[in-house]
Symmetry: C2
Subunit: 196 residues, 2 copies
Amino acid sequence: MENTTKEKILDAALVSFAENGYKGTNLRDLAAGMGLSKSALYKHYESKEDIWNALLDRMEAYYVARFGSPEKTPPAPKSCDELYAMTMRMLDFTMHDKRVILTRRLLLTEQFRDERARHFATLHFLCGTKEIYAKIFAEMMDNGILKKDDPDLLAFAYTAPITSLIHYCDREPEKEPEIMQQIEAFVTHFIGTYRA
Amino acid sequence: MENTTKEKILDAALVSFAENGYKGTNLRDLAAGMGLSKSALYKHYESKEDIWNALLDRMEAYYVARFGSPEKTPPAPKSCDELYAMTMRMLDFTMHDKRVILTRRLLLTEQFRDERARHFATLHFLCGTKEIYAKIFAEMMDNGILKKDDPDLLAFAYTAPITSLIHYCDREPEKEPEIMQQIEAFVTHFIGTYRA
DNA sequence: TATTATAGTGACCATACGGTCACTTGTCAA
DNA sequence: TTGACAAGTGACCGTATGGTCACTATAATA
């Protein structure tokens, strides 16, 4: 994460693409926002689309670095209380980290315009999170902490509602307290249902 | 649903806004697509934004007409098999009706640009569906078909994963068979878990 | 010191787009 | 028949925007 102009452009682009959309992003304002003139951008990238692609490259690289290899999966909780705590900890990060929030927003709004965004959205919103929890659940089932069941199906039933509430919170952040309660209630109920 | 030019413009606008986004929609092409010149649009609407607002008005009216009053809630199934069948029937419509698909796409991509779209998205993707099933579940619990539990929480746990798979299918329609299997597996598992 | 590469500037270009306007056409009522 | 109104056209306008280019400044290097 160097602090080069080239990187800073991507930082600014993430904000602008997420907040105004790809088409709504104008390179003059984007450059001005970082104290540059528009032409300076062209010293680092060939075109608007080139910036977009570089941004997606970086997002994918970041995702792989964070969740890419199997050993990056967080260690399986040793109790249901630990599962609860871990879920809440991950949630707190996911819901409040500015970069992550902007990434979600960008993927949501651009998923139908760009092929890579489309696939990345599925990974980010559905399959990625599900797989992480599938591994965790499988191990917890082996350890007799959760009832034996299909870990993949359970992970999906667990993460999909949480993700949908995260989207809700992205849309209407002023409702966060209420949404957090809903998440807690859901997580508690879920763990109660499948605890061994 | 009259066939006036004014209505036809909204039909075309739904397609274009959904496929190209609000900013990506250009009035010349939109008009040309229906064999009109751009200026003709201005005989019916004051501006691009006016078309957008009229479209949202119509969407909301349509939603209210369909789900607005309590008595519009479908009758509660008399068995778990009936619940399964009803879910699949509603799903088939939701996933294949062109208007509904376009509406979802439009709400997803424009939710952060427009206040009304934002609220409508929450209703459409989360609260609306949840409430319908909450009523159904409550009645089924009263009738001893489902285990007694919090109907609201259960409805959320039921509809949110399904909705997220619908979004998945919107993004990657070529995966529909696979996704349908996932939905069936989830619904079966869910009903199995909460059947009385 | 002279040279060269890098980063940045501002003026400029072409184009696309939302919106306006004067004008035409067709229909219906007085 | 005529007048009025609604619907539609095409030319035109202003502006925003992505992109290019000749030029400058700076700093490292030979």
